[in-house]
Symmetry: C2
Subunit: 239 residues, 2 copies
């Protein structure tokens, strides 16, 4: 009996908003999406929309989609990879940006490594990386911290702790916030940090409305900006 | 007198090795390189080679290149941005990957923000980000630490300290090493870390020889791999 070659797990970035996919994705992503029929996706509707936008002639009824989001039980995950053992490649698609980076996917990748399935990350936009590049801060040492505590006192304490770490380790500190809390979060940053600490606000990255600016906390107090409901990365660095 | 519109500073990723550029870069990068004549580059020869590979018909004699590497004096940097004030766009190109991320560029970007020059990061490959995606480790919280100390005792101490941080903060820890020291570095990791700590080795990313695997320190001891002179990212996470 012939031994079947196992399929591979491709990590497929998507756009970060309403952008023409080929403005932010290399052609190789289109080629891979063209050849894959099994996808692990965060949201069926947007996954189908993305696949249609990048490969308009691909048969949608032939797609097999597995849902991976906060409702997915950990026990289901290994079964998502079964098509690999029948020789099929599988793609992971998250809602925006890169699977596994501030987005679902890492748990499936972990299982793939355990099962010796080859994992192939594809190039595409990550708001974390693009913000870091454009911040002018130290890209030799940086931490992505995700979300800070919601409680105001705990949050301010954490900002102070991370500012100290930034200073001691020459390390840029990155964060995201729920978009409707962005303005309050920037206010917390600029009132809690030392006046000379630099803060980068990187908003609507890769979109027409992109806004990226680095100023000191003191300067931000004089230059207000509206970030309400706009996807934003915050980075700070104390020199 | 007409007010001239200032030029923009584009951060232009390049390939991570011998790859066809359009396999890893979106078409928008080609369009931007086509229209720019001023570049801040890490190495003249490879910058010209990259520009030629992506825009074969672009006039090489018309290019103005500023060199940005370890020999560049900080006082020279502001002059690199002067063409912006005459209405010219400028691109930053590093040797491989994304400017400003484990590569030169951040200092120029910092000056651009101070001078209110718009900074636009373009999408392309970053070995740090691709390794993080493919590691199956926590992409909600991670630190890129750059290089660890060369002294063996200091290095082992630092590995232990970061393993503790990884465990306490559920944070993935990323590193790079000088390629000819990769094998010794992996040995240091797997002999210093707890046996169950997961270690990802991500090597030759985006190249044909790409190798990405996550195993526990204990498993790596039984599965040796040769990383000599291959560009490699190391990531660990203690659960």
């Amino acid at each position: 009996m012939k031994q079947r070659v196992p399929g591979k797990l491709y990590l497929i970035p998507t756009t970060l908003g309403e952008t023409n996919p080929l403005e932010v994705l290399p052609l190789s992503v289109k080629k891979i999406v063209e050849q894959i029929h099994y996808f692990i996706v965060e949201n069926e509707k947007s996954a189908r929309g993305f696949i249609k936008s990048i490969c308009p002639h691909k048969s949608q009824p032939r797609l097999h989609l597995f849902l991976l989001n906060k409702f997915t039980e950990a026990e289901e995950l290994p079964s998502f990879l079964e098509p690999c053992f029948e020789g099929n490649d599988i793609g992971i698609l998250s809602e925006a940006g890169c699977p596994g980076i501030a987005d679902p996917g890492a748990d499936v990748v972990r299982i793939a490594h355990d099962k010796n399935i080859q994992v192939i990350p594809l190039v595409g936009p990550s708001s974390i990386l693009l913000a870091m590049m454009a911040s002018g801060m130290n890209g030799q040492s940086f931490t992505f911290n995700g979300y800070l505590p919601i409680d105001k006192d705990a949050r301010k304490k954490e900002i102070k702790r991370l500012e100290k770490l930034s200073y001691e380790n020459k390390q840029s500190q990155l964060f995201i916030e729920t978009p409707y809390r962005n303005d309050a979060f920037l206010e917390d940053l600029i009132t809690t940090l030392s006046p000379e600490t630099r803060v980068c606000v990187a908003c609507d990255i890769t979109l027409k409305s992109e806004f990226i600016s680095t100023k000191t906390a003191k300067e931000w107090k004089k230059n207000k900006v509206s970030l309400h409901k706009r996807p934003t990365l915050f980075i700070f660095h104390k020199d």
